[in-house]
């Protein structure tokens, strides 16, 4: 059905796909697996014509194809449902489904009646009820996802790709989605399913292809794998080597962060968090469960409406990042490029940004000191850059992340909040970052770690808090950590009794 051969695609500083092969046939659900940054999304975009590969061939139904634009791939029957849904919030459900191929009247105008009728039919085929006239921006994420699927089906779809569809939905919605995907497969549609939730793969997929660092690792039928072999294939080495050993538990260390009854509507609704000195506390939960917003509320980059944050007993006022930094909170944000990196400035300016007053005398910057600090950190954290005065934009994700970590270490934090610290970072750099985080904790810093990668949470944290819909669902100690125990809490209907923090 579809075959990709020897695909290569690079971005500045990164070789995203290196001689990747991939094939899937009609009437199967094919899982595409790999860690974040393994190249799954890039491969999908190549498949869909959104990226043009530097080399390699795409064969669809036995015919070699070259896509100049997504349009051509779509006309050939390939439809992708991206993680970030491609919808127009200001248009209606029907208008979104039929964007680009609306039914026409005799005069060539858009036939709205027919469009709404067809939308109703399409949605009922999916077994989903929605008003075709509703504004898409007003729908829930699960409903929006259904609109995307209906949109795909409104074309003559032969190949449907779903990029982590369960990152934004849960429970019953997942069950319903799987049901519909199986029905589509039985109609002869080829489905490529991307996820890093292993239980989903075993429940849904027929065959599996695994990527790592932009290269093929393994492929085969689902029966050829078990959990352990999948993980080893994805990570490339046994998990134990990736994470530094946990020190003996320090239940007696003083509490550094005490956040009490934090409210930040609509995403955070009454959360308590305590972190002790030297402790790494994980914050797990589905995307959209309010973890990132909780971090912002603690740090002050979003003003909490209710609740109290103290750091070593000292009050941290709401909505004032500058004061939070002065008190000793560092916050490594989730979106490195949009919220962290200063692309046009050199390494040293990236590192000293939150701490400029320390490098200022009489209003003038002390550049030599800044450069010296950067030089020291480059050495210490083994950052691969030409020097402290070179640019940061073209560095690899891992090196950029190390620069940002060194930024926050330079303020000598008491509490460090890390939001997805290893996103888009290759495995080697990951291990180093884990080591850095553990070393920091060993120095007595309290660490609050948000991560969607369960192995990371399980491997690194001393204690894990699980959130769902803005509330804490429970707390797990290191001994009780497993993917199952976390997911159970993350999708549970009510806080587990007696365990809620």
């Amino acid at each position: 059905m579809i075959e990709l051969k020897a695909i290569c695609k690079s971005f500045p500083g990164v070789k995203s796909l290196d001689q990747v092969n991939f094939s899937a046939s009609a009437g199967e659900i094919h899982a595409l697996l790999g860690e974040n940054g393994a190249g799954k999304s890039t491969l999908i975009k190549v498949l869909a014509g959104a990226y043009t590969p530097e080399s390699g061939t795409i064969t669809l139904g036995g015919v070699p194809r070259i896509w100049a634009a997504p349009k051509q791939a779509q006309q050939a029957g390939i439809h992708v449902i991206y993680q970030e849904l491609v919808l127009f919030p200001d248009l209606s459900v029907a208008e979104n489904i039929f964007i680009g191929h609306a039914p026409r009247t005799r005069w060539g105008l858009i036939d709205r009646k027919a469009m709404i009728q067809k939308t109703e039919v399409a949605l009922s085929q999916l077994g989903h009820r929605l008003d075709p006239r509703a504004r898409v921006g007003d729908l829930s994420v699960a409903d929006q996802q259904m609109v995307e699927i209906a949109k795909a089906l409104s074309h003559d779809v032969k190949l449907l790709v779903l990029d982590e569809p369960t990152a934004v939905i849960s429970g019953k919605e997942v069950v319903a989605l799987f049901e519909r995907l199986r029905r589509l497969r039985d109609r002869g549609v080829c489905i490529i399913y991307i996820s890093h939730r292993l239980e989903e793969i075993f429940a849904l997929a027929d065959r599996i292809t695994i990527l790592k660092d932009g290269k093929n690792v393994r492929a085969g039928t689902v029966a050829e794998f078990d959990r352990a072999s999948l993980v080893t294939a994805m990570v490339g080495r046994p998990l134990a080597d990736l994470y530094p050993p946990r020190p003996a538990q320090t239940k007696t260390a003083p509490i550094v962060l005490a956040a009490c009854n934090i409210h930040l509507p609509p995403r955070v609704r009454g959360v308590d968090v305590n972190v002790r000195a030297g402790e790494i506390v994980g914050l797990a939960g589905m995307v959209g469960s309010g973890r990132t917003e909780l971090a912002h509320a603690i740090f002050g980059s979003m003003a909490r409406t209710k609740g109290r944050v103290t750091l070593e007993g000292e009050e941290v006022p709401p909505g004032n990042p500058r004061l939070s930094i002065q008190r000793g909170i560092g916050f490594l944000t989730e979106d490195r490029k949009a919220e962290g990196l200063l692309a046009q400035l050199p390494v040293y300016a990236n590192i000293t940004a939150p701490n400029l007053t320390a490098y200022t005398r009489l209003g003038f910057l002390r550049r030599p000191q800044e450069v010296a600090l950067a030089a020291r950190d480059i050495e210490r954290f083994r950052i691969a850059v030409p020097g402290p005065t070179s640019g940061v934009w073209h560095l690899s994700g891992g090196n950029q992340q190390k620069i940002l970590l060194s930024r926050w270490m330079a303020i000598k934090p008491k509490l460090l909040v890390l939001d997805e610290p290893t996103r888009g970072v290759d495995v080697g750099a990951k291990a180093e970052i884990y080591r850095l985080i553990r070393a920091l904790a060993a120095e007595g810093v309290a660490v609050l770690l948000i991560s969607s990668e369960l192995p990371e949470v399980i491997g690194l944290c001393d204690r894990v808090l699980v959130m769902k819909e803005g509330r804490l669902m429970g707390e797990l100690q290191a001994e009780a950590l497993s993917e199952e125990s976390i997911m159970t809490l993350a999708t549970a209907d009510a806080p587990a009794q007696g365990e809620a923090a």
């Binding site: 500045p12 740090f299 949009a338 003038f364 910057l365 934009w393 560095l395």
Partner: protein
């Protein structure tokens, strides 16, 4: 650090930066040579002095525009501010030179207020800089017309003539003022915390908030300083021209943007330098002079400016992507 792999991309970016400055200086030298060959009178001291005297007010406006562009803004009201400053100068009934400091004070104050409103609209009301300053331009225009009833009638103290065209030890007064202002801004941008904050905020306002910098306050300050600089430029320009009308500085909004863009100040914010912006002014002025030397109609300057601004932004945009 030695022994670590240098990524090719980083090295290329560095090289490009140096190349850019090289290219600007090269363009200045090249254009000067062309002009001097075509017209032997071009490279005389007197002529160069004339050119600089003529260009100095534009230079001041470019400083303003560059400062605002650094924080992701754009100011279309600079020319209107210049004209308003000129009209304001005529409001003082006496033509006594003793009033000059007073006039400068009033213009600086007015500039601060106008820039403050621009900045307030942009940072607090989320109006796009383009629209906010466009509205300011129109508003000032209206106020000016209403106040002058179409044609300004007041007179200027004679000292303005000296400010606009005079010399100290053979150096044009307005050029010296421009250089002092430029030096001040250069030091501020390069060596102070405020300057660093401006680059950080212009490059990534979200990240700036997250490292504890107040994007709103700094942006506001840039708009204020910008309008104040534009006001001063207006006073020097009116001193150069000699007569006040409602359109002093007309066209300077485009010229200042063109010069800043040629000089490598990014419309996307966060990159560019004062030296680059001034080189941009030089190139623009040299080109305008070439049009005259070649005996072409002055309208060619308009065409040339249009082509250059499109090409220059296009080239910079391409380079950023490469």
């Amino acid at each position: 650090m030695s022994g670590l792999a240098v990524t090719g991309g980083a090295r290329a970016a560095l090289a490009a930066l140096r190349l850019e400055r090289f290219a600007l200086i090269g363009a200045v030298i090249g254009l000067t040579i062309v002009a001097a060959t075509l017209s032997p009178a071009f490279l005389t001291l007197g002529n160069l002095r004339d050119i600089f005297t003529q260009a100095a007010p534009l230079g001041m406006v470019v400083l303003a525009q560059a400062l605002i562009m650094l924080v992701r803004g754009i100011d279309l009201s600079v020319a209107s501010v210049m004209a308003s400053a000129a009209v304001l100068a005529t409001a003082f009934t006496s033509t006594d030179n003793a009033d000059i400091p007073l006039i400068f004070g009033a213009v600086l104050l007015g500039g601060a207020v106008i820039g403050g409103i621009n900045g307030w609209l942009v940072t607090r009301r989320n109006v796009s800089p383009l629209l906010a300053t466009l509205a300011m331009m129109i508003l000032l225009q209206g106020v000016r017309f209403a106040y002058t009833q179409g044609a300004p009638s007041g007179l200027l103290p004679s000292g303005f003539r000296w400010l606009g065209t005079g010399q100290i030890y053979g150096i044009p007064v307005n050029l010296s003022v421009l250089l002092i202002l430029a030096l001040g801004l250069w030091v501020m941008l390069r060596y102070t915390m405020l300057g660093r904050a401006i680059y950080i905020i212009g490059g990534n306002p979200r990240a700036a908030e997250l490292v504890g910098l107040s994007a709103q306050r700094v942006t506001m300050l840039c708009y204020c300083l910008g309008s104040m600089l534009a006001g001063i430029a207006g006073l020097f320009l009116v001193g150069f021209v000699g007569t006040v009308d409602n359109w002093v500085g007309r066209g300077y909004e485009l010229d200042s943007i063109v010069a800043a863009v040629i000089g490598g100040v990014s419309l996307a914010g966060g990159s560019g330098s004062i030296v680059g912006a001034l080189l941009g002014v030089l190139i623009l002025v040299l080109l305008s002079n070439l049009v005259v030397i070649l005996g072409l109609p002055v309208e060619f300057q308009l065409i040339l400016k249009g082509v250059i601004i499109i090409l220059a932004t296009g080239l910079y945009a391409r380079r950023m992507r490469a």
